[in-house]
C-alpha cells in the first residue's frame, strides 16, 4: 500500500496511540505479579499482560524503534488513554479497568480487522486475544457484582471511579477509519448489559467534559503515570544499551 507523507504521519500516530495503550496496561497488569489474590489469577493477569506486550511491540515497531519508544520517551510523549495508566487499586478496580478497556479494544479491533487498512492483519490476531481478556473481565465482574456484599460494594465503587475515564476512548484517532460514535454506542450497550447482569448500577456520572479524562492522546497524563514510567524505564536508562 502506497501512502502519502500525511497518511504516514497519521498511521505512525495511530500506531503510537494503540501501542502505548497496550504497553502501559501491560505494565500495570504486570505489577500484580507476586501480589494477586490467588496464584491462578496471577497467571491469568500475567497472560493478559503478555498478550498486550506482544501487541505493543508490533505497534511500536510500526512507529519507530520499540525499545527507544518504550524506555526513552518522556511522559508527555506517550499517547495512551488515561484509563490504562490508572493504578491497579484493589482487584475490583483492576477488573473494572479490564472490563472497560478490553470491551473497547475488542470492538475497535473487530472493526479494524474487517477493514482493509494497514492494521487489519494485526487486528485479526488481536481480536482473538482480546476476546479472552474481555471474557475474563466479564466473568469476574459477574462474580464480584453478584456475589458477596463486600464484592458488590467494591465492584460498584470501581466501575463508578473509572467511569469518567471512559469517554476518552472514543475521541477519534486519525488514520484508523473507524466509526467512533457507533463504536461508543456498541460499547455502552455491552457494558450496560454486563453491569446489569452483575446486579450493578450503570454509573450516571459524566464521561466527557469537565472533571473527566480526555487528553491522554495529546500527551497529558495523570499523576500516577509518572511514577509508573520511572519504574518501567529506570533500568534501561541506568544501563543504556545493556544486553543479557
Amino acid at each position: 500500500m502506497t501512502t502519502t507523507p500525511d497518511q504516514d504521519t497519521a498511521l505512525t500516530a495511530a500506531a503510537l496511540a494503540l501501542g502505548d495503550d497496550a504497553l502501559v496496561l501491560s505494565h500495570r497488569l504486570g505489577e500484580w505479579a507476586g501480589h494477586a489474590p490467588v496464584l491462578e489469577e496471577e497467571v491469568a493477569l500475567a497472560n493478559i499482560a503478555l498478550d498486550l506486550l506482544g501487541q505493543a511491540r508490533v505497534l511500536l515497531s510500526l512507529a519507530g524503534d520499540e525499545d527507544e519508544l518504550a524506555f526513552l520517551r518522556e511522559e508527555r510523549a506517550f499517547r495512551n488513554l488515561q484509563l490504562v495508566e490508572q493504578p491497579n487499586g484493589d482487584f475490583a478496580h483492576t477488573i473494572a479497568r479490564q472490563l472497560y478497556f478490553s470491551t473497547y479494544q475488542h470492538l475497535l479491533h473487530t472493526e479494524l480487522a474487517a477493514g482493509d487498512g494497514p492494521f487489519a492483519p494485526l487486528a485479526g490476531k488481536v481480536v482473538k486475544e482480546v476476546a479472552y481478556h474481555s471474557d475474563h473481565a466479564e466473568q469476574w465482574t459477574l462474580r464480584l457484582g453478584d456475589g458477596t456484599t463486600t464484592g458488590h460494594t467494591r465492584m460498584q465503587r470501581a466501575v463508578d471511579a473509572l467511569w469518567r475515564y471512559t469517554g476518552e476512548m472514543f475521541q477519534p484517532v486519525e488514520g484508523l477509519g473507524v466509526d467512533w460514535p457507533a463504536l461508543e454506542t456498541a460499547w455502552l450497550e455491552r457494558i450496560t448489559r454486563v453491569l446489569h447482569r452483575a446486579t450493578l448500577t450503570v454509573p450516571d456520572g459524566p464521561r466527557t467534559g469537565a472533571w473527566t479524562a480526555g487528553a491522554g492522546r495529546q500527551g497529558l497524563h495523570t499523576e500516577p503515570f509518572g511514577r509508573m514510567l520511572a519504574e518501567m524505564q529506570h533500568l534501561h536508562r541506568s544501563h543504556p544499551g545493556a544486553t543479557w
Partner: protein, 95 residues
Amino acid sequence: MTDTDWPLWEVFVRSRRGLSHTHAGSLHAPDAELALRNARDLYTRRGEGVSLWVVPSSAVTASSPDEKDPFFEPAADKPYRHPTFYEIPEGVRHL
C-alpha cells in the same frame, strides 16, 4: 497470597484431535466456568491443547494404596494379555 476456600479441580487436556484427554494437574477455582479459564491459563498457554475438561477433585474416587496388591499384582504374570506377540503395522502410531 492468602488462603482461599475455593475447591480443587482436576484438569484434563486433549493435546490433539483423535487423542484422549490426559490428566495435566489440578488448580483452585470458585466454580466450573472459572476453573476452565484457569486451566486454559495454567495448562494450555504454550499451545498444549485443543480441548479441556475440569472435574471437581471431590468427584474422583481413587483406589487405595493398601489395595495395591489385590488390585494390580495378579495382572503382572499374565503375559498373554499384552499385545507383544504380533508386529504393529507401519503407520499406526497411537495403538
